[in-house]
Symmetry: C2
Subunit: 349 residues, 2 copies
Amino acid sequence: MIEDKNPQRTSLAQLGEFGLIEHLTRSIEIKQPSTLTGVGDDAAVLDFKDKKVVVSTDLLVEGVHFDLSYMPLKHLGYKAVVVNISDICAMNARPTQITVSIAVSNRFPLEALEELYEGIKLAAKIYNVDIVGGDTTSSQKGMILSITALGEANADELVYRNGAGATDLLVVTGDVGSAYMGLQVLEREKQVFQVNPNNQPDLDAYTYLIERQLKPEARNDVKGILEALEVKPTAMIDVSDGLSSEIIHICKQSGVGCNLYEEKIPVDPQLISVTEEFNIDNTTVAINGGEDYELLFTIKMEDFDKIKHNPNFTIIGYMTQESEGIHLITRANTKIPLKARGWNAMSEE
Amino acid sequence: MIEDKNPQRTSLAQLGEFGLIEHLTRSIEIKQPSTLTGVGDDAAVLDFKDKKVVVSTDLLVEGVHFDLSYMPLKHLGYKAVVVNISDICAMNARPTQITVSIAVSNRFPLEALEELYEGIKLAAKIYNVDIVGGDTTSSQKGMILSITALGEANADELVYRNGAGATDLLVVTGDVGSAYMGLQVLEREKQVFQVNPNNQPDLDAYTYLIERQLKPEARNDVKGILEALEVKPTAMIDVSDGLSSEIIHICKQSGVGCNLYEEKIPVDPQLISVTEEFNIDNTTVAINGGEDYELLFTIKMEDFDKIKHNPNFTIIGYMTQESEGIHLITRANTKIPLKARGWNAMSEE
């Protein structure tokens, strides 16, 4: 589906490991005040002064987490950074550095790695994080990306998963389900393409969904918005595995229950029309589809007025006593236990 | 070669991703004062106070960096931690935390991951580092390990690769070449085993070499030893790719040359007898073989007396003006340009 824009192919063996790392990291600039030295020594040196440091890591495997037949390499690089930045944002911290490790089989020429790195560098630039280290090596099969992100925050800014109280309101940013539906559209087009490679797909009706899948963004704006509103979440998590899965994480770790209201769940109009086309229930997609990279958080009830009309946020439910359980309240006012059917990398084998 | 001591096989799909992570990380304890929270949230939270933070990351790929036909999983887990700790030690910093990401194909049962994790936890315990995060997922083929290590140091303790002066002495800890030769012995035994699986190998003559390959240690003792001697290295690197490769790194980054004396290079007696058996030159192995995880550093000439009789260190040469180049001075007093023929993951494809 994706045209090969790189007719030139330079084999990685020609460059060697050191040559390759040098080539890919040559233009990397250091901008964060907390980065003292980056790539080029046994380790990077950072100075966070009196700030707390947050660290998160993610491993992305070709054929498990991404499919290069419809994921352009530049987008993949961008997304790999974003998913890690999102974890830092979910701590209400400010992302500052990343390390990037890549393993590739010899089917990838240098030009492919350059494209991947272009996306990585673009995301680093947009999210204002320094690339301070990494490793590049060969793999037996396919591409593997491992990114570790660091961030900083003052101690009183950090928000954990375990702070939700039994009467707190449940809030989500943006909309959910679209990235999952974008993946379904891309998978369908891949099938069509395999049957008839000359078929030119018309994807106009799916642009938003596809963009959410191929080029998600991390909500690094939320920290500032909430600060301006003088609201500090009591618990927070990013929506990577699906809304229901994340709600359950907050509930379990905070020792609370939850009522989630179906009618409140924010979905994009495109999601509704495409779920109809695919004959799937849009609520099922919205609560179980992953990779939204929105933030899900709880706030004290008294903060309701501060955020109720803010276009960035939707109040989708409220927390309860743990004994009341975790439920979805449907449009028909039925109470259904919420289960984590989120995207599960292990069961996809 | 390695007996399957785990007749029990629990499939990873049975547990699911969250179940697996929970299972593997359950018994992890936090001991470092700089670890505020570890596994279980979107990110770990650390507090290094006025210390500088060092970060390093390594990616290990089955079939490229390790061969499970002679590498027991517990040893692999241990070694994966050690190679990262070694990078932190090479900055003259104190290792404090690691994150551990693992991708495995469905050929691995839960019991295999438990064994791997046993080694990881043992190394974490011995080197006194906290496991604060990670990711566990499936791979299309084989096992991939990605570890990121963090460490701390006061600003004035850190040692970079670029500080060597033109008259400094070149020093290495322990001995070199043995890990590489251990690998050659294991590779030969693997060939023998493939021809005759009933052959019981007698590896008594190779125990030290094999141990260096399968269970290397990081030199986290060197920082304290040097402090006690009141010696601060001017440049430092760990010997992972081979002595010659590391010398070249220090020379290039410090803008100096070097004379390395063949007769001074510390090798184990077992290395000498086994290189004879294999009919290879032991100096070639000592300078090009990798994975020693010893520390290579430079010191000011006036510190000579402080370390000359210390059994941990061997002075193997001295730095020169950059224009004099980088040379090996052989036993026959011939001057040969030193080239990096170190282990190169990219060319092994």
